[in-house]
Symmetry: C2
Subunit: 733 residues, 2 copies
């Protein structure tokens, strides 16, 4: 068995799988069994002699200038990486007098003969990696304006090495285009994780602050390696206790671990905290006592955590308290908190995910209707955090119409890395492609060529604050994300937060090489599957612009029949509106909700007409007859069935491709991914069968010949119950 990896430190045998596997084992005892904990920082030994020789030369004489916790972290990572990749114990000097093969120093600390003129400008977090020829000898330079820049540069250098890239004449100059690159943890103080599918929260609040789990350090390493520079450690459905001294001490311990890695800690602020913590009888943002309470609270926190990032707030949404409870508005609430943290350099991220009191209003328009009128009224240290689409992290949504509609307000992007609506941690879905699809969507406002990426990167408004947040898919599972491929979504989010125009192919290729093997046979085989995997759940869950058809509460599996919830816009029938006449949500100006007008006129015009609406969004904007003809000349009904089948078949194909790659992957991770792909294949069929059987009750048409006929009837699929599906909000349990 051609296994490119190394010596085992774990038994990898599954006896219950019988003798065949046992014989396999006999021949592969030395196969390095991995559990996925090391993420993309595996630093496995480089077996390519030429490459290893080149890297070893560059590592023969190393200078790292400076001395700070960040520099120490840099040195540690460098030594660990070089030691494991090259099997050497590198010696690192800090003196400047000699000539080195590798120099890592801020620009001000570079030797005189180190010439970086001609390289692009970099900002304070950016870095340069370049080789220079000094009297015949090539040397490698990593430089930056700051220690953090050097850390990012060093991580990048180690990643280039893991990818076994030729470093001769390398020239890299990279700066992040977005200031705030944050993870949002929907983690509760009891260690449950709302919409978490990778075990319990990694935050062990009971043992903090005294006990520092190695995971906290490795979490910081992993995030710094992809440029993430902030983390909101608590759930947006917030608990006021996190603001008490008992818990702030624990948060401080985390902040101390993360600081050397350039990561700031943020907290969610429960708006009613002044009341719940027993100090006041109101949380009215215009009440001076309330304002003073938050000022004092901010001082308490900053006394412990001088570089505390600030607050993330979910207010007046899904039962969370907010300014409206006191007859005030979002501007009043956000600006009060902003004033409290401003003296300390903190910020407030105010979420736009709100519900209209008018349950009849089109769900897709509610946030826009409420927030757009406030454009320009928020304090300068406030960002409004907007989900990528107007509904709620569906497999595919058009971009959120607020992007482009609030030119005087810094809008922060909120993506969901955890797969609440995309198969939990059992489905392989490459989300960076979803993220970039949104980032590259043209908003047509303020300018004709403006894209969502330009809005959040501030290149349009030139605002000081820019940000992108990803709802983390991280938990206590040994492999962090439940599914090994969930790591790719964490990795890719970081890369796109650093540069929204980072190539998807490159993200996928880098991650595959570092996570498994740079062997081109492996990479070239699975790279296309990974890129296509983003479209698969769209096809087998919600094709052609359908959305919000999952089962209620836990959101696991199909539930197009869900029709009875406390709000109509929490049901499935509200969104697909299937009936005898057809299917889809009419958001046109002529006969529908008019939500198309939330977009720029150019887009509104396109979306207002089925003929000019992109087919992948057709039923998002239009209610169309089952017999409506699509571009391929087939009926909408046939196309639905074909799309569902296509999604299933593509997963089946991906599964077969994975099986063919057995020789390139260690036993444990190969088996884990294989089991997950089998579950995904089974559940893709489940979605197809449940949805098509349900819709057939309205269409009353035969399934298209391309579609495999369901082997069970609708009542079976309706009967399935999952009382303990993970990630559900306790209060909904």
């Amino acid at each position: 068995m051609n296994n490119p990896v190394h010596k085992s430190n774990k038994a990898i045998f599954r006896p219950f799988q019988g003798l065949l596997l046992f014989l396999l084992l006999l021949s592969s005892l030395h196969a390095y069994s991995e559990n996925g904990y090391d993420l993309w920082l595996r630093y496995s030994l480089i077996e390519n002699e030429a490459i290893r020789t080149q890297y070893t030369q560059f590592s023969s004489k190393i200078r790292v200038a400076g001395n700070s916790p960040t520099i120490n972290a840099l040195k540690s990572e460098l030594m660990t990486g070089l030691n494991k990749m090259l099997d050497i114990t590198p010696q690192i000097s800090s003196v400047s007098t000699e000539s080195y093969a590798l120099i890592i120093a801020t620009i001000s600390n570079l030797p005189d003969n180190a010439d970086i003129t001609g390289m692009p400008e970099i900002n304070d977090e950016g870095y340069i990696i370049m080789t220079q020829n000094v009297n015949g000898n090539e040397r490698l330079i990593v430089t930056a304006r700051t220690d953090i820049g050097l850390l990012y540069g060093t991580f990048n250098l180690l990643q280039l090495m893991q990818q076994q890239r030729d470093l001769q004449n390398i020239e890299v100059a990279s700066s992040p285009r977005i200031n705030l690159r944050l993870l949002n943890h929907w983690d509760n103080l009891d260690r449950t994780v709302e919409r978490g599918y990778a075990g319990a929260s990694i935050w062990n609040w009971q043992k903090l602050p005294e006990y520092i789990d190695q995971r906290y350090i490795d979490y910081a390493r992993a995030n710094a390696s992809i440029g993430i520079n902030g983390t909101v450690v608590t759930n947006v459905n917030a608990n006021a206790l996190i603001l008490t001294p008992q818990y702030v001490d624990k948060v401080k311990a985390l902040a101390d671990v993360f600081r050397p890695y350039g990561i700031k800690v943020y907290l969610t602020a429960r708006f009613s905290a002044p009341v719940e913590l027993g100090d006041l009888d109101t949380a009215d943002p215009l009440d001076p006592a309330v304002q003073e309470w938050w000022n004092v609270k901010a001082n308490e926190i900053y006394n412990q955590i001088p570089d505390f990032g600030g607050f993330l707030v979910k207010a007046n949404s899904e039962g969370q308290p907010g300014p409206q409870n006191y007859g005030r508005n979002h501007v009043d609430g956000a600006n009060m908190l902003a004033a409290a943290v401003k003296p300390h350099g903190g910020i407030v991220m105010w979420r736009a995910f709100v519900y209209s009191p008018d349950e009849g209003a089109d769900r897709a328009s509610q946030a826009s209707k409420e927030f757009v009128p406030y454009d320009g009224q928020f304090a300068e240290n406030v960002l409004v955090q907007v989900k990528n689409g107007p509904i709620d992290f569906q497999p595919r949504e058009p971009f959120h119409p607020m992007f482009g509609a609030m030119p005087k307000t810094p809008l922060m992007m909120e993506f969901q890395i955890t797969q609440e609506y995309l198969g939990f941690s059992t489905h392989l879905v490459f989300l960076p492609k979803l993220f970039q699809e949104v980032l590259h969507s043209r908003t047509y406002q303020p300018n004709r060529n403006t894209r969502v990426a330009d809005i959040i990167a501030g290149t349009e408004g030139n605002q000081a604050l820019t940000g992108m947040a990803g709802v983390a898919n991280i938990g206590s599972d040994i492999n962090w994300t439940g599914h090994i491929f969930g790591q790719a979504n964490w990795f890719g989010f970081g890369k796109l937060a650093w540069d929204p125009d980072y190539s998807l192919e490159q993200i996928a290729e880098e991650w595959l090489k570092m996570t498994f093997t740079p062997d081109p046979e492996f990479v070239n085989s699975f790279l296309p599957e990974l890129l296509e995997s983003r479209e698969m759940p769209v096809s087998y869950m919600t094709p052609l612009g359908l959305h919000h058809m999952m089962d209620a509460g836990h959101h696991y599996g199909p539930g197009p029949w869900i029709s009875n919830m406390s709000r109509p816009d929490w049901t499935s029938v509200y969104y697909h509106k299937a009936d005898k006449s057809g299917i889809g949500f009419d958001r046109t100006t002529t006969t529908g909700s008019g939500a198309v007008n939330d977009y720029a006129p150019e887009l509104a015009k396109l979306f207002n007409d089925p003929a000019t609406t992109p087919e992948e969004l057709l039923l998002w904007f239009h209610h169309l007859p089952w017999t409506y003809k699509l571009k391929n000349g087939r009926t909408l009904w046939d196309n639905l069935g074909m799309k569902y089948q296509e999604g299933v078949d593509e997963v089946g194909q991906m599964l077969e491709t994975w099986k063919s790659l057995r020789p390139y992957v260690d036993e444990e991770r190969y088996e884990e991914i294989l089991m997950h792909l089998n579950i995904q294949f089974k559940e893709a069929k489940w979605w197809k069968n449940a949805c098509m059987l349900y819709f057939q009750e309205f269409s009353e048409m035969p399934f298209p010949p391309e579609m495999t006929v369901p082997d069970k009837d609708l009542s079976y699929y309706k009967s399935l119950k999952f009382p303990y599906a993970p990630g559900i909000r306790p209060s909904w349990d």
Copy 2:
């Protein structure tokens, strides 16, 4: 730095701990950083040349006879162990024609010249390890009556090697003295673990049955390596859903993983399941429809899991339903379930942990009063599972008086490995010493020399069924038990379940050698600390026979002032009865509850008189004046203070000893244990201060000079709140 272990596969550096540590790292980059996942199955490379040569010779020519999933598991473990300890790839043959250096075969498969006459008899799970000289060549033989016996023997051989024991002329013959050696998991279907302090449940019910976590396999390996042969995977506070086909399919997947390792799966049966699952309107055990429901349910389960072990039941206790809800008794309930599983060879474990409806009754007598009269009435496939003491897993309790009082009933021991009352997973406490203290306690009935161990091993009653259960301390934490030393309690429980007379020193030494290093410097230094650690929490929490003084609900930290709960016998004041006149629970016949009479007359006589009551149980049986003189001539009050202080000081000493062993332990585990010891030291002082300040309100006496005066006042300790302490039962949250 003299570090006896090997190459790193993980960054182990804590930059926030600053430069000193960083310099340490420079010199120890090759230190093998371990996360504790491998437990005592690390199989680290043996550097002692002589020993490795001897083992390599024995491994040069190996025969393993037979072919079964168990034999495959045996071969896998043998190859993994030899490969890692000796850095060889062993070749294993199954043919019998040649002469081998190591032969692993059942007695019936041994070569004719393999003579085991003269070795002690072994039972079906026992094994023999011996060397034999065959024409000048020494060979090693592992033999047994069954494949499982061979697996146990092979695990034991690998453990001898990890301890670097000389195998020349080795002769081992070992058989388990107790049939049922079980773990009890108090794991809920939502992955919370009642009284669990090591993260979420390792059972990922959502991904079962399709997804087999590597943990399930390694869990089976670890248990088999110490002889555990059964596991109850669900909480005794039971959920009827586990009995539905949807979940039985998941349990079957676990059973299939565990079977090759000789581990049977058991479930907790919720007594009201026939009603809760919607099939019947009663669960009356004498109702034929109810009996039939359980018969059908048992058939369902055994169709999926032919070797299903049976049911564990908590009935009519702490709100759990039971036969008394229908006017029936424990015998009626247990025998009904027993009848359902009997045709399939299953058993019922019926817990004796019950509460008397009469809240005035002495808590210590309630189980005895209720169960002893039933002696001889239970069906032959029922065991009554009794906690080690009459209250509830306190740091020290006298043995449970039911042991010895029910000669016609198989009593199964229930120990708690998880540290509900012993510092959660932050305190280092060597529980095997607590376990053996109970097992070696003399019951004086039925015979004068009978010990608890003899009762549960059945050597008195000769009953067919014997068993010992340990409430697991296992969770999803990477190191399984939260605290590395928690692994020693899992390990030691297994060893004592196999043989209640196994030497504690040997358990401690074996575990230290395999978990860290066989280096005598290390082992000899920490072995005494480990053995003494059992007494420390007794001293700093509940000295001199005090009990049940923890905070309410979560049981974390001291709460001697707890006085207001829904039952008086859930409070602390009920148990310590401190007042101006003195402290302690009077259980004498003369002035007290008379609970001493639950014991044999010889013991009742001893316990009835403070002068003849062992001092470590003094306040368990007597309420004594603060000025009562103990053997050392000092007052009870002074002795209390001295004991509390002693516990604190001993933890401080253990902490210093650990620091001195830095050179022998890898960075990650050394730091983890150091942080935990610091927390334990802090919390020991907390217990001492809170309890002594509280009791001083009654004694009104000055603290003894030996005792460090508390630095805070009582109101501070009373004010501490821990709303999200782990392990609490959700319904109490």
